[in-house]
């Protein structure tokens, strides 16, 4: 298959949210001897840009955006480990550690944010739900995170966001890490009160906010 038509097919597949097929096409590209970075930059990145554009102008709904992101993520799982071997690494917008705070098991909002961040060029480590304060600090340090994202869906677990923030500041290695907070009961006022660097009301704005925080 000609390179360009493969890239076109990849874009179409991602936009249709065909998760398995996207990975298959990535594999096919590799089999044909293509550079994984080229597959990413000419196939998947433009697809995700297009998905974002379609979402912005109202042609795409959230499930379509997430499905595109999932399709991309699946293929990236295959392509990314191969990067660097040939010298070139994928350009990353930044590293994000994300999770739902301790005592809180709400998953979906945080997962959508993680998925969209990944698809938009961030390296994301998703710690899941009910994540202890210490775990956020540890992971932020070892992953050399630029951003820590804290999700809380209960007013009773929101104070944990402040605790993580304070714990990050106590450690030299994590002092400069930007902190983003989110979740249904979380407001801009709360974010300001606890001194968080970023806040967003929905997943798409979270990506914009994260880009702002890393200066992208």
């Amino acid at each position: 298959m000609a390179k360009d038509s493969l890239f076109e097919l990849i874009q179409q597949t991602v936009l249709e949210g065909e998760v398995e097929k996207a990975a298959e096409l990535a594999r096919k590209g590799l089999d044909e001897g293509l550079d994984p970075l080229e597959i990413i930059n000419k196939g998947f990145v433009p697809a995700m840009d297009e998905a974002g554009a379609r979402f912005s102008d109202g042609r795409f709904f959230l499930p379509e955006l997430v499905a595109a992101a999932e399709a991309m993520k699946e293929a990236m799982g295959l392509l990314e480990p191969l990067l660097g071997k040939g010298g070139a690494a994928r350009e990353s917008l930044g590293r994000v550690v994300i999770g739902t705070v301790e005592g809180d098991i709400h998953d979906i909002g945080k997962s959508i944010v993680a998925s969209l961040l990944t698809a938009n060029g961030f390296e994301v480590r998703d710690l899941g739900v009910d994540v202890p304060v210490g775990k956020f600090v540890e992971e932020a340090k070892s992953f050399q995170a630029d951003i820590v994202g804290l999700s809380a869906l209960l007013t009773t677990t929101m104070p944990k966001q402040r605790e993580v923030l304070e714990a990050l500041q106590k450690l030299d290695a994590t002092k400069g890490v930007k902190v983003m907070v989110g979740g249904a009961p979380v407001t801009a006022r709360w974010a300001e009160e606890i001194g968080a660097d970023g806040y967003a009301e929905d997943a798409v704005s979270a990506v914009l906010e994260a880009r702002k925080l890393v200066g992208a």
Binding site: E16, G17, V19, F61, L62, P63, E64, V66, A67, A69, E70, A71, D107, I108, S111, I112, T187, A188, E201, D202, S205
Partner: protein
Amino acid sequence: MKKQPIKPIKPKLRLEFLSKEDILRIHEAALKVMQETGVRFPSSKALDIFEANGCEVNRETQVVKIPPSVVERALKTAPSTYTLAARDPANDLPLDGEHCYLSTDGCGVEVYDFETGEKRLSTKQDIYDSARVADYLDAIAFYWGPMVSAQDVDASVRPLHELQAAFMGTSKHVQPETIISEEIAEYCVEMAAMIVGGKDKLRERPIFSVMQCAMDPLGHDGGALEASLVAARYGIPTGFMPMPMSCATAPATLAGNLVVTTVDALSALVLIQLAEPGAPVFFAAAPTAIDLRTGGYTGGGPEDYLLGGAFNQICDFYGIPLSMGTMATGAKLPDWQAAVDNVMSTMAPVLTCTDMLTGAGLLAGSKVLSYQQLVMDCEIYSIVKKTVEGIEVNDETLAVSVIQKVGPGGNYLAERHTLNHMRGLWRPTVVDRTPYMEWEEAGRPGAFEKATEIARDILANHQPEPLEEGLVEEMDRLIKSAQKELENKGV
């Protein structure tokens, strides 16, 4: 900006407001009133027809006593299904007992200026403009009224100007409630015949129909009756709309109100069938109750909702389509009251699958046109539509395989099943669901502001399918000569 096809409601959800026994008792009560007390028909032509068909006619009081046998005979000849044709056949409305069609509200006298919010008297231009907006909106199936009165043209030929402006503004079916004399009815038929290519064609494709107000209780208007007899002769569908108000023009009790509503709507249909057996007819009604403090029209309230749902069951019993007065809130502004009234008054008759719902876009008890209200009423209609279409249960919609695939704690966002079915979910046009901060940054827009934008866009950009070249001028000439003829007759 693209015009979408008309979206009728095909309700799956049904509600019984009356039992079979209730309906029979109302029917029997109505028959008793028609036979023993009678109904006033102030038209010698109408009285002649009743007399020729064996009814007891009192020429002095103009009251006709109609025996049950005559009512039954008339009901037998009335068609239970037919089509309201439109200038553009794509907008034809089959009254098949399975669909509900929303129209505009009508007969208002003022307009909320779009930009300033100031109230002003309505003009012919407002009819053209409101018809254009109705033409664009897919929730609106036909143009009723006209929405407002053309108060800037000569009163003697006003209904002709109004019909012309409506035909120019929309290629959907038009149903005026202003054709209230024989002469005007003839001219209207002539005008519509120009569009479809003759009176025979008009009989095949009646692109307008005629609604009249009844004179509750137990009476009609002479001019309206004679105008409808003319229309029926040309195959134009006709209907009579009682608006009995409990405590004033109907008994305080709702069952009693339904008896008056039935008598007033049915007695005129009997006349039309006796005169023109088989002519398409429809019931119409906007029964209500007075406000107990002011005695005024309420434009909403639980009585309206109940009567609105119940009367269609009676019309179904007779096997004749109904146009029910819905929406038409008494609220002066497009506010909370307007929303409550218009949701409930639409939901109730839709739950009994009422054929025509009349209508959207006026405030203050059908007096003031508001384009924002019109757009918001269409959103109410779309919410009701989605709700009454119910829940489909089959293997595909049960979605067991995707439930098992996602398993505990996962999510369905990126699943193929979701992508395939998500567009079946209702989506807002003016209802606000934006995140708080986004809403605040946008200047806190509510439904009203969004509706303003939509209406502004339609008014600025939507052009209806034009009438054939030269037709508007031909209509102008018709109106001019009609005015002269009426002057000579001293009308």
